[in-house]
């Protein structure tokens, strides 16, 4: 039963847990009651009635999420672009997705800027990493074939993420996801010229390697931005 009570958010538990436990001690819950408790916890999470620590509303968080959605759309367009032939063989033309990529990376850079603003004053390295990513993102969008710029973007995001974690703006698990999502594609970038499909010039494979993990990164970043963060963590 304690597990079910644990489904409620912290502020609610602080206010009601003692009496709630007393109630269910007096009337042991049936199966239907357990479902009712779980539903009540879900309601409280969706529409909290007990105010918790003040959170910063972050409307900018919608920008990165829209950016992520656009990026995902761009991947779909690229992967299904028209097949072209030239003297080197066949490739898919993803040019149609370029406007989406540009808009999405601009939106994502806005999200990065928001995170940079949350960093404490002494976090100079993560701030620099964040700014590097903010600048590199849109440039990379304009020149996606220039891989070093992409690497600057990804490493900048990683540096910012580590800084955000150190400043306790983000939870630990987010860092693990970000590292995994950045190290794997970065390794693949470096190995790209040595991989067999590179010579085949199958463009969508290369792009999926780049954009796929990056989309995952932004799913995490956008989600975290939407959550906002306690004011206490913003000092």
């Amino acid at each position: 039963m304690s597990r079910l009570v644990g489904l409620y958010p912290g502020p609610w538990r602080e206010r009601y847990e003692a009496e709630f436990r007393e109630l269910i001690a007096e009337r042991p819950p049936t199966f239907a009651d357990r479902i009712d408790i779980a539903r009540g916890a879900l309601d409280e999470r969706l529409r909290p009635q007990v105010p918790g620590p003040e959170r910063t509303p972050d409307r900018v968080g919608f920008g990165p999420l829209v950016g992520f959605a656009l990026l995902a759309g761009a991947v779909l367009i690229m992967a299904n672009g028209p097949v072209r032939y030239d003297e080197y063989g066949m490739y898919r033309d993803g040019a149609l997705a370029l406007p989406l990529v540009i808009i999405s990376l601009i939106l994502l850079s806005i999200g990065l800027h928001r995170v940079v603003n949350r960093l404490p004053a002494e976090a100079t390295v993560p701030r620099a990493a964040g700014w590097a990513a903010i600048i590199a993102g849109p440039i990379w969008a304009l020149m996606p074939w220039v891989m070093p710029i992409g690497l600057v973007f990804l490493v900048g995001v990683l540096g910012l993420a580590v800084g955000a974690r150190t400043a306790r703006i983000w939870p630990a698990w987010s860092e693990v996801v970000l590292v995994a999502a950045l190290v794997v594609p970065a390794g693949l970038f470096l190995a790209l010229p040595f991989l067999p499909w590179y010579t085949m010039r199958v463009l969508e494979v290369n792009l999926l390697i780049v954009v796929g993990p990056m989309s995952l990164v932004w799913l995490v970043v956008g989600g975290l931005l939407l959550r906002g963060s306690p004011r206490a963590a913003m000092t």
Binding site: Y16, E19, E22, R27, A32
Partner: protein, 119 residues
Amino acid sequence: MIRPAGVQPSRDDDRALGDLGRFAEPSLYILVSLAEGPRHGYAIMIDVEAISGSPMGPGTLYGALARLERRGLIEALEPDERRRPYRLTALGATTLAAQLDGLRSFTRTGLARLQGRTS
């Protein structure tokens, strides 16, 4: 609360319970239960079951209590050991009266229409 056409809710009524969603009906039962005097969670649950004829789950009870408390319709008293009694506030009493008035109009309208149908 289900309201027939022609039965106008008061402003207080709508402001207090109109946005409670699935907790609107349980909230009304809780207000009726507390109209008799302060009660703690378990006592409310037993009383509501007696009034309505069906049990109210703990999640629904505390979801409704939190909403009523937040809207100032009930207030928590000092805990008696681990049990915390609740009582109706003046706003809660007014709101309950408005809700019951609405229900009375509803019942009257329904009964009058039924009588017209059978006569």
